[in-house]
């Protein structure tokens, strides 16, 4: 048996072999491979047909966000609708912002760091601006390819919550960034940070946590149909959609289905009640109570 190893080298315990010796070990050795194949099974270990049965019988994916919001489901079939529904939810939560940066079609988008906003930091103020700039600078220093950082503030349990959305970054990178910032700004270290993976398109998505935790916890209870329509509409409105059509229906299996059809750039500013009706937003669509509420909020009553 001739194994292609360096015969002269005698290994001392705990001592790393020289580079040339190690390189010799990285030459693929057909004879060694043939020997090692003796460890292979002489036949199937588990036939593929059995694998298919295991997969078919595996526990279903968790759809936690739909359950927690009490909405059942947002799409009957197809990723496009699902993504769209998710995007709507994000926009719903954000109003103007933070989550809208997350492309709904992406799978693993990044990591969100959530913590309490120190009381001395006023959004738009000098201190907050400095933290934002410092965060961007520190984030850039991480040199993560195709990444970006968004710093936003949203309400949570009656307090302001500070969110760092690290698009394209994993948890370790997020922890590194927050660790550095907490050293620079001890006020940040006073509160625990929560790290939420952003995996928008994947199974068992945690968007619910993102959504509920950052911006909408107080409204995360079950919604009735009218309230749901109103929320979706408000989200679309905030995001500048136009030609909004919302249909809420109950599917045969008892789940609630929200179909949304809308175009970007819709703004209700300066629109009249007739404009809304022309866009399909009317009492019939939303229900009388929700429609009245909307008109009130838009100042059209």
């Amino acid at each position: 048996m001739e194994l292609q190893v360096n015969q002269a080298f005698k290994q001392e315990p705990g001592k790393r072999p020289p580079g040339a010796e190690m390189d010799a070990a990285l030459v693929r050795d057909p004879e060694l491979a043939a020997i090692l194949r003796l460890l292979e099974p002489p036949g199937d270990v588990l036939p593929w047909s059995q694998v298919e049965r295991i997969i078919a019988d595996a526990p279903p994916v968790r759809v936690g966000w739909a359950d927690r919001l009490g909405l059942g489901a947002f799409a009957t079939a197809g990723w496009r609708q699902l993504r769209y529904a998710v995007a709507v939810l994000l926009l719903l939560g954000v109003g103007t912002g933070v989550l809208a940066i997350i492309p709904a079609q992406s799978d693993q988008v990044g990591t969100l760091v959530l913590t309490r906003l120190p009381v001395a930091w006023v959004v738009g103020g000098a201190a907050f601006g400095e933290v934002e700039r410092e965060a961007q600078s520190r984030f850039a220093a991480l040199a993560i390819p195709q990444s970006s950082l968004y710093v936003k503030v949203g309400p949570r349990d009656g307090l302001d919550e500070l969110g760092f959305a690290l698009v394209g970054a994993d948890r370790a990178q997020a922890e590194r960034l927050f660790g550095v910032l907490a050293e620079d700004y001890p006020a940040l270290a006073a509160f625990p940070a929560e790290y939420v993976p952003i995996d928008s398109g994947r199974f068992g998505s945690r968007l619910n946590e993102l959504f509920v935790t950052l911006l909408h916890r107080s409204e995360a209870g079950p919604l009735d149909q009218d309230a749901l329509k109103l929320h979706v509409l408000k989200a679309l409105r905030s995001a500048g959609f136009r030609d909004i059509r919302i249909t809420v229906r109950r599917a045969a299996d008892g789940t609630t289905v929200v179909d949304v059809d809308a175009r970007m750039s819709f703004s209700v500013k300066g629109r009249t009640q007739e404009d809304l009706q022309a866009a399909g937003v009317d009492e019939k669509l939303l229900g009388s109570e929700a429609y009245e509420q909307l008109l009130g909020e838009l100042g059209l009553k």
Binding site: M22, L32, L38, E40, P41, V61
Partner: protein, 173 residues
């Protein structure tokens, strides 16, 4: 729930599509770890369920094979913690017959048994590194991903494994 059914169905189909091309390798990997057909079958079926549960953690489809190998290895190690013992040298009764292998098998049988015994005396990590690199053709980086080690550590592991194997075989004549 219709949504849940849709998602489950989509997950299962995608998982199958990724697993199918590398399934034979997964079988070989599970068997090389367990060195017993029944144990390998258990490890493999448990690994498939574990992989489905954690499928959302797979970031890059092109790295599915390494990811699945790692799941199998973790499952195997968990089973050890649950009471399964480390595999010893292969039972000669399990050795394939000459008809199942090649015509030179009979001539090689003695030597092969020596090799098996030598392999069994390597550390599990050394054996795993050798199998991943030389049998499955994984790159050093891919071996790192499966074993959860850094590049230099894997290089050292491969070097020492080969050195040790040679020494063991020389000792056995």
């Amino acid at each position: 729930m219709a949504l849940q059914q849709d998602l489950t169905s989509a997950r299962n189909e995608r998982f199958k599509a990724l697993l199918n091309p590398v399934y034979a390798d997964c079988e070989r990997w599970a068997y090389s770890l367990a060195q017993d057909r029944v144990d390998a079958e258990d490890v493999l079926s448990e690994s498939i369920l574990a992989a489905l549960r954690g499928f959302h953690q797979l970031k890059d489809d092109s790295a599915f094979k390494q990811w699945m190998f790692r799941v199998i290895r973790n499952t195997f190690r968990q089973s050890l913690r649950s009471g399964r013992r480390w595999p010893e040298a292969m039972d000669p009764a399990e050795l394939p017959t000459g008809a199942e292998r090649d015509t030179d098998w009979a001539e090689r049988e003695d030597r092969s048994r020596t090799v098996r015994e030598a392999l069994a005396r390597l550390s599990p990590e050394q054996r795993e590194a050798l199998v991943l690199f030389h049998v499955h053709g994984l790159s050093v980086q891919e071996v790192c991903e499966v074993l959860g080690k850094k590049g230099n550590a894997v290089r050292v592991l491969l070097h020492r494994a080969r050195q040790r194997l040679k020494e063991l075989m020389q000792d056995d004549g």
